[in-house]
């Protein structure tokens, strides 16, 4: 009857120090991955809105949409950088 579902049913007292460390590292890695995936979703959402503006009449990205999506990602990250640089500059002035 005891299916392994919930992690709360597990006995963590048996974990060795090494296991604990490994687990911690794993959690850090997985949260970084999750953050990346979330960013990719947000960026796709934003760039799709900007780049796929004409009537949807094919299942592929057309020759305008495909480069637009790529440029959208690159420019968004450039813009991101500008924001950080600017914040840095403002902080230095204080």
């Amino acid at each position: 009857m005891d299916s392994l579902g919930a992690a709360s049913n597990l006995d963590f007292t048996k974990l060795s120090e090494r296991d604990k460390q490994e687990l911690q590292q794993f959690v850090v890695q997985e949260s970084q991955k999750a953050a990346l995936q979330s960013n990719i979703h947000k960026t796709t959402d934003m760039c799709f809105k900007k780049c796929v503006t004409s009537k949807i009449s094919s299942a592929q990205l057309d020759r305008y949409e495909a480069p637009c999506m790529e440029q959208c990602v690159e420019r968004f990250m450039d813009a991101n950088k500008v924001v950080f640089k600017e914040l840095d500059r403002m902080r230095a002035l204080q």
Partner: protein, 88 residues
């Protein structure tokens, strides 16, 4: 075998939950975008055209998502290799 090892069990569960969350986000965006684009004026049923639009839109959005993943990760790697300094 499986769950006698709590470490492996936790890792597996975390990965499963991450995959579910990721899939759910994608489905949510597909619904949002494609409904918005393909069904501007909801009527008594989905028309053939709206259905075709939905399926094309879904595939297109997935293509866009794949493109963004590739470019995004590539850019992160390039920035990292360049030492993260804000210089272009």
């Amino acid at each position: 075998m499986d769950s006698s090892d709590p470490k492996t069990a936790v890792m597996r569960q975390i990965q499963q939950e991450a995959a579910v969350t990721n899939a759910r986000s994608l489905v949510e965006k597909l619904n949002d975008h494609c409904f918005e684009r393909c069904v501007p004026k909801p009527s008594t049923s989905l028309s053939k055209n709206e259905e075709t639009c939905m399926s094309q839109c879904i595939e297109k959005y997935m293509a866009a998502w794949n493109a963004v993943s590739k470019v995004y990760v590539g850019r992160l790697q390039r920035d990292q290799a360049a030492g993260n300094s804000g210089f272009v």
